[in-house]
């Protein structure tokens, strides 16, 4: 593993604005990817750097540097790419993984551990959550996908630690339960448990009590890209073999007609200003 110490988030942002495509920044960006994954892997041990945050821009720039200068990939490039892909997978249902995949060559995507990560992303995208977890757990085995006689690298071990840690699983579970809550008002307990990889109703109650409903803004109920959480738990209750999710505009019947008439001020103002221009 490279010995380059990790930068802080602010330093990485400065680096990206000044010398994005300079090959010499490659090792710094690789260290930052490792630092981001270390932060996911470790909950009790303080991360190596005081300020390490997920940065799609930094990870994407590194992948592009590999694209521009294939010699920079070296022996670790495939596994660093896997670490960056893993980080973007945790952002599901955002399209970070989709956007990153467009930059990763097919030969890397078909090599382990990237191949399993791609399969995991496909299962999440198709909402086959029950099938997702067994695939995801494979990444937690460091030797998985290594050719016979091969050595497990430090980056591969880092990935396995992150997969096996609580943060990764809980992050994915939180995103999955939000997606289920947008579709279901009530759902079978067995289906929800399988989708969240939880053992029983008590686990679900405990997990669900810590995930809160996101607030929705805007006149038409659309959410902004930076929504905030409310105090209401996303799981309203678990009775028998039925899970009830908190009511929202997504999982309840729309009240009244969705038709909205009227002229907005913006439309009229634009038209009037154009007419005034023509009149001059």
């Amino acid at each position: 593993m490279s010995a380059a110490p990790s930068l802080t988030h602010a330093q990485v942002q400065t680096l990206l604005s000044e010398s994005s495509y300079d090959p010499s920044v490659c090792s710094k960006l690789e260290s930052y990817v490792r630092a981001q994954v270390s932060a996911v892997a470790s909950t009790l041990v303080a991360s190596e750097s005081p300020d390490v945050r997920y940065s799609f821009d930094a990870n994407r720039t590194l992948i592009k540097l590999y694209q521009f200068f294939p010699h920079l990939e070296g022996e670790t490039g495939v596994e660093i790419t896997a670490l960056a892909s893993f980080l973007s997978l945790l952002r599901f249902p955002d399209t970070d993984f989709v956007a990153l995949c467009c930059l990763i060559p097919e030969r890397v995507q078909s090599t382990e551990p990237c191949a399993t990560l791609v399969r995991c992303a496909e299962l999440l995208e198709s909402c086959d959550f029950a099938l997702f977890w067994p695939e995801f757990r494979k990444l937690g085995i460091p030797e998985y996908g290594i050719v016979e006689g091969g050595v497990v690298s430090d980056d591969r071990k880092l990935l396995s630690n992150a997969v096996n840690g609580p943060i990764a699983s809980n992050t994915i579970r939180t995103n999955v339960i939000r997606m289920l809550a947008r579709t279901y008002r009530t759902a079978p307990l067995s289906m929800v448990l399988a989708a969240l990889d939880l053992g029983d109703a008590n686990s679900l109650r405990e997990f669900g009590s810590n995930v809160h409903v996101l607030s929705e803004g805007g006149e038409d109920g659309t959410t902004t890209a930076t929504t905030t959480t409310t105090n209401a738990p996303i799981v309203e209750g678990v009775e028998g073999d039925v899970v009830t999710f908190a009511a929202s505009s997504d999982n309840t019947k729309r009240v009244g007609s969705a038709y909205r008439g009227g002229v907005s001020y913006d439309d009229v103002a634009t038209m009037m200003s154009k007419s005034a221009l023509r009149g001059q």
């Binding site: 495509y21 249902p93 579709t183 008002r185 929504t227 103002a269």
Partner: protein, 573 residues
């Protein structure tokens, strides 16, 4: 090539006048006429006399059998015309670029021409950036009309794209020949020569250098009024033109590289609601209006943004931007306005490609906001493909392959390896085009099922999950994830809504402030709303999104235009 000693007075006058207009007088109308009209006239000048025109000192001018000066040849070199512009290095670099652009439009460039093109652009941009950095205290020292600025940026990237394709093709030809079963049938002489030249000029058209120039040009002209005191309003207009057209070009480049997020965010400087207005002649315009005022720039922006939004699963944004430009073009084709614009022969091809993209979008996202006129063009041109898809056959790939841009492999190939047997047919095994098509098809794989699901759901207000699953030929366990998947695929980022500007004077001039990516918000591209409770799918009535006021306001505007035209008609009795 024209004999350097023999060129007519009209060429000398043109060079002198263009130099004056760009470095001293800064009169936009004069420069516009020289750049867009005089240059073309001289290039294709017809002679009506006996075929002889005196250059200075009674010299005879050479031209082709139709009497044109430089129809298929180069203009005089910059060293030949340097005395006409006082040996001004920056103007000579601009002249080199202008004449190079002409030459490469009439003659297929050789590998040396392509490398020479890179040197010309690198020199030009170095001089412009130095002028921008050093010219602050000396007032305005350079003016180029917006069309010229865009043409420079556009050609810069066009040559980069061509070079990437050329070197990939050369590599592939060398690899194929090296791998041929007959050892005597090695690579041809010109392939070996091309490989040799490319190997010696590995820095030519290097992607990191291309990106660096674009970013520096954008930075030089698009600073906002901010805490550091630097303001774009204190920047000479030409650098602002280059910055905004540079960002259009950057967006295009990122799209060709497959970085769709970067392609979209490159346009933020144009849509920045806080950007200063820029002087275009006597008018003050927002960056968006500046770009829209040069139609090829507007077209390039819309096409590449449309592709990027599509690949990022932002179907409504993609349909909105592509539909808007297609509607504009359709009207332009009918009135003939677009035919007057240089380069208009390419517009039809791009229009057809955008219509193909809209065919895909209208299929996967029924809530697309496309004008009825364009929707009917889509149906007319792609009825067959869409029927194939409806029937369950594959049709998206054909449409995408026709419509997508020519993606590039940015890495410099290992040329030495290309001449040895056993090397991969593409450099580093990376086929950029194939990767993007595969990615697109993966995204489309689910849509056949989702579309069928939607068609059944829209017939019911409530239906059992089991029944809906059977309609879709699936078991309940298999079908359950699709109910969540449909909502997931259609929950997308959408661009914010433009607001009328604050300052009263900007409002009176009809300036609408931009909408950058900070105002993006999550939306739903579904045209039906459903949820599942127990084992029943409840479907709400389709949202009525028709806004009749838009129709009435459009008709009011049209009526106003017609009345104005009638009033301007002079009737003599």
């Amino acid at each position: 090539m024209a004999d350097e000693a023999l060129f007519p007075d009209s060429v000398k006058d043109f060079v002198f006048d263009l130099h004056d207009a760009s470095r001293r007088s800064f009169i936009p109308s004069e420069q516009q006429s020289l750049y867009q009209t005089t240059f073309r006239e001289i290039t294709a000048k017809e002679d009506g006399g006996d075929g002889v025109e005196g250059g200075g000192g009674g010299m005879m001018m050479m031209w082709d059998e139709k009497g044109r000066y430089f129809p298929n040849t180069a203009w005089p070199s910059s060293s030949a015309i340097a005395p006409e512009c006082g040996n001004d290095p920056l103007f000579l670099a601009l002249y080199d670029e202008l004449t190079l652009r002409h030459l490469q439009s009439v003659k297929r460039p050789s590998v040396r021409d392509r490398v020479g093109g890179w040197r010309a652009y690198a020199k030009l941009f170095d001089l412009i950036l130095a002028e921008a950095a050093g010219g602050g205290g000396n007032g305005e020292t350079l003016y180029l009309v917006p069309e010229w600025c865009f043409d420079v940026m556009h050609e810069f990237l066009y040559q980069f794209q061509g070079f990437c394709q050329f070197r990939t093709a050369t590599y592939a030809a060398a690899a194929k020949a090296a791998d041929a079963s007959d050892p005597e049938k090695g690579p041809t002489g010109h392939v070996v020569d091309a490989i040799d030249v490319l190997s010696q000029n590995r820095d030519a058209w290097a992607v990191e250098s291309v990106l660096s120039y674009l970013h520096r040009l954008v930075a030089a002209g698009s600073r906002r009024t901010g805490g550091d005191g630097a303001s774009s309003s204190s920047c000479a207009p030409v650098y602002r033109f280059l910055a905004y057209f540079g960002s259009v070009t950057l967006s295009r480049l990122e799209c060709l590289l497959g970085d769709y997020r970067a392609s979209v965010s490159a346009l933020d400087v144009i849509y920045d609601p806080n950007a200063d207005l820029v002087a275009v002649g006597e008018d003050m315009r927002s960056p968006e209006e500046l770009v829209n005022g040069v139609f090829p720039a507007r077209l390039s922006l819309a096409y590449h943004a449309g592709v990027s939004y599509l690949m990022l699963r932002r179907y409504k944004d993609s349909a909105s931007i592509l539909g808007g430009i297609c509607l504009f073009m359709q009207r332009g084709f009918k009135t003939g306005q677009l035919r007057k614009i240089p380069g208009s022969e390419q517009f039809n091809k791009l229009f057809d490609r955008m219509i193909a993209l809209l065919a895909i979008l209208s299929h996967v996202c029924p809530k697309s906001v496309v004008d009825d006129a364009i929707a009917s063009v889509v149906r007319e041109k792609h009825a067959n493909n869409l029927s194939k898809i409806e029937a369950g056959e594959e049709g998206y790939e054909d449409l995408f392959v026709f419509a997508c841009p020519k993606f590039v492999n940015p890495a410099v190939p290992d040329y030495g390896r290309a001449l040895r047997p056993g090397c991969p047919p593409v450099p580093y095994g990376q086929d950029a085009y194939k990767l993007q098509v595969q990615h697109f098809m993966m995204e489309m794989a689910a849509h056949a099922t989702l579309r069928k699901m939607r068609s059944y759901m829209s017939l019911y207000t409530s239906i059992e999950v089991e029944k809906l699953a059977s309609f879709n030929d699936m078991k309940v366990e298999e079908f359950g994830p699709w109910l969540t998947c449909f909502k997931h695929k259609m929950r997308q980022l959408e661009r914010g809504v433009a607001v009328t500007p604050g300052p009263a004077e900007a409002a009176s001039k009809g300036v609408v402030r931009g909408v950058n990516s900070d105002m993006d918000r999550m939306g739903m591209a579904l045209d039906i709303h459903y949820h599942v409770s127990g084992n029943v799918v409840h479907v709400d009535e389709a949202e009525k999104t028709r806004r009749f006021e838009t129709f009435f306001m459009k008709q009011i505007e049209n009526n106003y235009d017609i009345l104005r035209q009638l009033e301007s008609i002079k009737i003599e009795v």
